[in-house]
């Protein structure tokens, strides 16, 4: 009897700090632009730059209400899952330009002040186009300039930290920086590892409707 009563109280308390969103559709989208620095950590250290563009679509949203100093200043923590279609490139002089598309999946945890942490999982496609004229010998023995590149599978992840100005202020921007790793395949039946750093800026679209 005692056990049943205590578990009932526990169940009742379990969700009390979750904000009820009955009838309210709280939507959020991000459009982001990021600079990428692909880093070779072997000597000689070699840094190749690139950019990526992504749109984030929130799939799941579970805000949490933490106790504030006063009932008039609630501390809302946002817990979100996004899908982030991302296109980008990394430029390697006299070697290749890697063009990629990744439908990233991201979990973002935004603290009540607007600081957030984000964990991304990436599986995507990469095309590496040669960055110098490519010549191929023809059947008649002459050489002809051709377009050439390689198709690759990308697999990786990144950890990002940032600040979402749209959370507590009315500025619809967010900044982020982070680091990640990705592997491309195949290169002689092997995965080739890349480590990179990223700095980005996002425009945040928030919309609440009944």
């Amino acid at each position: 009897m005692m056990y049943t009563l205590s578990s009932a109280i526990a169940q009742d308390n379990k969700y009390k700090d979750i904000i009820k969103t009955d009838g309210l559709k709280n939507k959020k989208y991000l459009a982001s632009i990021s600079g990428i620095a692909d880093m070779e950590l072997f000597k000689p250290v070699n840094i190749n730059l690139g950019m990526s563009f992504s749109g984030s679509i929130r799939l799941l949203y579970k805000p949490k209400l933490n106790k504030g100093k006063s009932v008039y200043s609630p501390r809302i923590i946002e817990r979100e899952i996004y899908i982030k279609p991302t296109v980008g490139y990394i430029y390697r002089k006299r070697y290749n330009t890697a063009l990629f598309f990744i439908p990233e999946i991201a979990y973002r945890h935004t603290f009540y002040k607007g600081v957030f942490l984000e964990l991304n999982m990436d599986v995507g496609y990469m095309f590496t186009k040669m960055n110098a004229p490519v010549y191929e010998r023809q059947d008649d023995g002459t050489f002809k300039e051709v377009f050439f590149g390689h198709h690759n599978l990308m697999l990786g992840g990144k950890l990002v930290a940032g600040y979402d100005f749209s959370k507590n202020m009315r500025t619809p921007l967010a900044i982020n920086f982070g680091t990640g790793v990705f592997y491309r395949y195949p290169s002689n039946q092997k995965w080739i590892r890349h480590i990179y750093a990223e700095v980005g800026l996002s425009y945040v679209f928030r919309r609440a409707k009944e």
Binding site: I33, S34, G35, E40, F42, N46, N48, L49, G50, M51, Y91, R92, K93, R94, Y95, N96, T128, M130, N131, A132, P133, V134, Y135, E136, R137, G141, T142, F143, V146, F148, H150, T171, P172, L173, P186, S187, N188, Q189, K190, I192, R193, H194, L201, Y203
Partner: protein, 349 residues
């Protein structure tokens, strides 16, 4: 909102400028420094054309390894002098260096590498505009050059070949190299130096009497310690060069991949490559260079066998030269090598 767009615009252009621009050093005066890829099947071999833009003589450098790269080769001071007079073609072999592509192990054969080299020779004549072509193969590259020259059609495309410590007979060369190493280990033991280590070294070879890809790394490590690869590092001089912004991880991966997969007549090059009986097919002018201190492919026996068997009536070889060099004389005695190369090219161009 306007402010936001300004911020976005500034950030966009800042990143775009950083990503797109890095200065490429311009070659001086009559020098050329162009970068290309030569596509063979599904592979893009990186090719760098450097040197005297006015020269119709080109030297194609064939790197060693197997699995090495020619990307840093130009840093050796030896090439500075050569590039003053001739064009020099640096290329990376299939599945080696920073060559891009997905090469199946079945394509990692000396036969396919020779076909790739033939593409480079034709490219040099047509695109790099050099009608008089020489090849310079060092170590494994010397073995590949030797194989390439077995075909008369290939010989007809060239004016001559510089063959440096060639791996034309790895099968017997590996045995000689182990003997050389054991002799050095005995010398170290006799001197009372690091007895445990050198006894372990001797024990290693008694357990692994045949040198395959699996033992190659350890063998090179032992050779390095007794100066069997580089006799005197102080003699090596380098110059700073620009290099392409490559994936270095790929280079390290290929350095393992190529030696593990390379074959001759379907068998590993380490245990089966021996071109001695075919050397008589080589008829074009050859300059053979061998370092007297070489421990990887010891000069005694191997150089003599090459000289005895090669079919060329125009063979330039001086047994009394390169006494201070180990495996790569163009690193260690580059002044002498410069003089000899120029004399050989001028005599046969």
């Amino acid at each position: 909102m306007q402010l936001n767009f300004k911020i976005l615009s500034i950030l966009f252009f800042a990143v775009a400028v950083l990503a797109g621009c890095s200065p490429d050093p311009k070659p001086n005066g009559d020098q050329v420094d162009n970068y290309y890829f030569v596509k063979v099947d599904n592979v893009a071999l990186p090719v760098r054309v450097c040197g005297n833009i006015k020269s119709d003589v080109a030297i194609i450098f064939i790197h060693g390894g197997p699995g090495g790269s020619a990307q840093g080769e130009r840093g050796n001071i030896y090439w500075k002098e050569i590039e003053k007079y001739y064009k020099v073609i640096y290329y990376d072999q299939r599945g080696s260096g920073v060559t891009q592509g997905n090469v199946p192990p079945s394509e990692m054969s000396i036969e396919q590498f020779s076909e790739d080299l033939d593409n480079i020779v034709d490219f040099t004549k047509q695109v790099a505009k050099a009608s008089k072509v020489f090849i310079h193969g060092a170590s494994w590259g010397g073995g590949l050059a030797t194989y390439y020259l077995l075909d008369t059609t290939h010989q007809n495309k060239l004016k001559g070949a510089i063959i440096e410590s060639p791996a034309y007979d790895i099968k017997n060369g590996a045995v000689l190299s182990i003997q050389w190493m054991l002799h050095k280990a005995d010398s170290m033991i006799a001197l009372g130096k690091n007895l445990d280590y050198w006894n372990n070294c001797k024990n290693y070879y008694s357990i692994h009497p045949i040198l395959t890809y699996n033992e190659f790394k350890q063998h090179q490590s032992y050779l390095t310690q007794v100066y069997g690869l580089v006799s005197n590092g102080a003699n090596i001089q380098v110059q700073s060069i620009s290099t392409p912004k490559v994936e270095l991880a790929l280079g390290y991966s290929n350095a393992e991949f190529a030696p593990a997969t390379l074959t001759y007549e379907g068998q590993s090059i380490f245990t089966h490559l021996d071109l001695t009986s075919k050397l008589n097919q080589i008829k074009l002018p050859v300059m053979l260079v061998w370092g007297a201190q070489d421990g990887l492919l010891p000069k005694n026996n191997l150089a003599e066998k090459f000289v005895t068997n090669v079919g060329s009536l125009n063979l330039k070889y001086d047994d009394t030269k390169y006494l201070l060099s180990a495996h790569l004389p163009h690193f260690e005695e580059w002044q002498q090598f410069d003089v000899d190369t120029k004399a050989f090219v001028e005599a046969n161009k």
